[in-house]
């Protein structure tokens, strides 16, 4: 009996591996979470992005790397249309999330931003209490149920491993937290509205190494439930946390692929020069 059990277990494991293997092999056939087709972005006459076509898979971490001013942040902010506020901004091409063109008239911007959360470079908590920070996204949706709000605040804070540090004073002003705690709070605030994509714009560039480590661990956890796109200047970070990496240079997508391939065996000379630190 016991032997049988083990055998069955082993067979199950094997099939799983085979399944995994097929998944990797047929990568291209997977439904893509995000597709951009021939995206051009202009700021007045300056072209910030040139003909970017790229697919992003669900439940993965995609790192966008490249020197400053190469358009990676602009590309990131396309997905929740945060560029709309910039004077002279213009976009051509298609940005498709879950099969819908997010720039079409039918899209409700507030709904899009609820689904596509964003974490910024500098921690930017609201000058309010910890509780109000996390509850804000729900409150503006009109959620008034106190116990529901509390439940969601607690679960979000637990998700970002901040709960144990702040559970005793949720009323405390968020600005009194340390930089790393503030950034985790900002992630919790984003998670509270239940997005399925999270955009991160250099989320650790203002943090010390320990806080950075915590955020990276968190990203690793979060990718089981969310699709994550992260802009980073830190090559090691891209290597550590991402599944796929895209290298941008002067508004062009130079190379995109599995992180391992990009780092070990880059196809393009400019990619190689950048990741080995010869420029950028």
């Amino acid at each position: 009996m016991l032997m049988n059990d083990i055998n069955i277990h082993m067979i199950e494991e094997k099939t799983k591996n085979i399944e995994n293997f097929t998944v990797v092999k047929n990568e291209g056939d997977l439904d893509h979470k995000i597709v951009t087709k021939k995206v051009n972005v202009f700021y007045d006459n300056f072209q910030a992005l040139k003909n970017i076509s790229m697919q992003i898979q669900p439940f993965s971490v995609t790192a966008l790397i490249g020197p400053s001013g190469c358009g990676k942040s602009t590309y990131l902010r396309i997905f929740n249309r945060m560029n709309d506020y910039i004077e002279g901004y213009r976009l051509e091409g298609d940005v498709i999330i879950d099969g819908e063109d997010i720039n079409s008239e039918k899209i409700i911007l507030e709904k899009l931003r609820k689904d596509v959360g964003m974490v910024f470079q500098k921690p930017n908590p609201f000058p309010k209490s910890i509780f109000d920070n996390v509850a804000y996204g729900l409150k503006i949706q009109g959620v008034k149920d106190k116990s529901f709000l509390h439940e969601r605040v607690v679960s979000s804070l637990k998700q970002v491993v901040l709960w144990d540090e702040v559970k005793d004073d949720l009323k405390k002003n968020a600005l009194a937290l340390s930089g790393g705690q503030q950034q985790r709070l900002c992630i919790a605030r984003t998670l509270a509205v239940e997005p399925n994509i999270i955009l991160m714009d250099e989320p650790t560039s203002a943090l010390d190494p320990i806080s950075t480590g915590k955020i990276e661990e968190l990203i690793f956890e979060l990718k089981n439930e969310y699709t994550i796109i992260i802009v980073t200047h830190n090559m090691q970070q891209a290597g550590r946390v991402s599944d796929r990496t895209a290298f941008f240079y002067l508004g062009e997508l130079i190379e995109e692929g599995a992180t391992k391939d990009i780092f070990i065996n880059p196809q393009n000379e400019r990619t190689e020069n950048y990741i080995t630190g010869r420029f950028g």
Partner: protein, 285 residues
């Protein structure tokens, strides 16, 4: 002399000039306030505050003028506060940045510098005559509201400008609409500055006599106003009137009324500073 010594000398020269200039202002102010206090303090009493005007200086009080000032201040505040903030928020957050908004901006700043008597003429024509309000508290308050609107609008815009973009980004990124972002984040974050601007503007309004005289505020009213449509006087007009009388007793009365006016103004400035500090502490980035 070498360069270092010359620079040291320049330093010292400027320091001396600066201290001297500061002292001119302080000394003059001290002499002025001291003079007023010496003249006016002995005359101050509860009776002085609650007595009606009289042709006898010892019996005359500032009750009607004080009540008039409070009425005018109150009405001016509730008229100018919402309009000024709304205009400031609109210009800063909604208006398209272009030549038109530049024209607005320059002109609002210019309006803040228009002599107050011009506002008085405007108020007389529009509120008192065309709108048939007469020389009422309401007409006076509307005139003063116009006078301080530019100040409030400029203060509102400046405070809103100081709100970091990252705060708006955070709100938008969570799915907030523009109005939700302004109402929940931008205005609360800039409210200390806005409030300071409003109170400083009101403390200017409380000291104005010229526009109210033009609108038709009286130097002598037998009773304090009880509705916005009543005739009224205000403290600066009462002071102006007393000073122009020949009897010395009225000069003393004027000094005492000035003390009251100064106390009111200083108190309002104090409140403004307190509020600014309080809100700044609450919203420190």
């Amino acid at each position: 002399m070498n360069r270092v010594k010359i620079n040291r000398l320049k330093d010292k020269l400027f320091l001396t000039a600066g201290v001297f200039s500061t002292f001119i202002g302080l000394v003059l102010l001290t002499i002025f306030i001291g003079n007023i206090l010496i003249e006016g303090l002995p005359r101050l009493s509860w009776k002085f505050l609650i007595n009606l005007p009289s042709r006898l200086p010892e019996k005359a009080g500032i009750y009607t003028a004080l009540m008039g000032s409070i009425w005018v201040l109150f009405l001016t505040a509730i008229i100018a506060f919402p309009i000024g903030i709304a205009a400031g928020v609109y210009l800063e957050e909604y208006a398209k940045k272009g030549w038109l908004s530049k024209v607005f901006e320059v002109n609002i700043s210019n309006l803040a510098g228009v002599p107050s008597i011009i506002y008085g003429l405007l108020g007389l024509e529009i509120f008192a005559r065309v709108m048939h309000m007469g020389s009422s508290v309401l007409a006076g308050s509307l005139t003063l509201a116009l006078l301080i609107l530019p100040i409030i609008i400029v203060a509102t815009r400046e405070s809103i400008k100081a709100v970091p973009q990252s705060l708006r980004d955070a709100s938008y990124a969570l799915g907030a609409s523009k109005w939700q972002t302004i109402y929940n984040q931008v205005v609360p974050a800039s409210f200390g500055g806005i409030l300071t601007g409003v109170i400083l503007a009101l403390s200017r309004a409380i000291g104005e006599a010229a526009p109210l005289i033009v609108v038709g505020a009286l130097a002598y009213v037998p009773f304090a106003p009880s509705t916005p449509m009543d005739e009224f006087s205000v403290l600066p007009i009462q002071i102006f009137n007393w000073i122009s009388r020949p009897q010395h007793g009225f000069i003393t009365n004027a000094a005492a009324a000035i003390v009251i006016l100064l106390v009111l103004t200083f108190a309002m400035n104090g409140i403004a500073i307190y509020m600014r500090n309080r809100w700044q502490k609450k919203v420190a980035w």
